[in-house]
Symmetry: C2
């Protein structure tokens, strides 16, 4: 059986100090022992890790392309617990200097969605979806 779980999402970083600074600036707790060589943040759901871009490709035994900019094809999401919280979180992100690529807007499927980008173009959705609930750790309950 292939364990049905995501434990870590790792972003290949071109500028580790800048990327660490950005995520620390969100108030997220970095794990002890994090460095500019490898950093991880203790999020609920899955760990967020940062690892130099070329090293991450090498770790997976694949070729690293030339430096990427813009959309990478993968997004991460932060579900929040109310429609209003989407707007509040985006306002806070803006105040922290994050680039908001999509202002909060109601979605055709009934929720509310917005996106921000980290300094290297990794996209995060801040989203509220109706009929979802969370446990005490902020994780989905099926």
């Amino acid at each position: 059986m292939i364990p049905a779980r995501i434990t870590v999402a790792t972003l290949g970083a071109h500028d580790m100090p800048a990327m660490r600074g950005f995520y620390r600036g969100l108030g997220w707790r970095e794990k002890d022992g994090s460095s500019d060589g490898f950093a991880s943040f203790l999020l609920e759901g899955a760990i967020l890790a940062l690892f130099p871009f070329e090293h991450l490709a090498a770790d997976g035994h694949v070729e690293a392309p030339a430096r990427t900019t813009g959309f990478r094809g993968t997004t991460l999401a932060i579900n929040v617990e109310s429609r209003e919280e989407v707007d509040a979180v985006i306002a806070e992100l803006r105040a922290l200097g994050a680039r908001i690529t999509k202002e909060p807007e109601d979605a055709v499927w009934g929720g509310r969605s917005s996106y921000f980008s980290d300094p290297e173009g990794n996209l995060w959705e801040v989203v509220w979806a109706p009929h979802t609930s969370f446990d005490e750790h902020g994780r989905f309950v099926w």
Copy 2:
């Protein structure tokens, strides 16, 4: 406060039927209502979602590059509970036709690591790390 959580990892897919088929083939449970327009899998930790590549970029209000191949700069991980389980899971993935980019090997940091790729080059690490423990849902305990 920016909620410190990852609820969903979404992969932009060029061929939705092929990508859905691959992840269903792992034995992962697709959420009711999934389609070739949007599919999600109920993993522990975070949901895995599949959404057409150009639609995902458009949803985030960013430009979609030309079709990407190879390393995208983001990886996801499946932590398992023993050194031996890394090898067992990789053997099962190989039997299912997944491309193994890195055979299991002991890592300098004391764990055991391997990688496989989905049909569009998204990399997953199957990894065991010493001194980590999980709750009954297969999620990290800090």
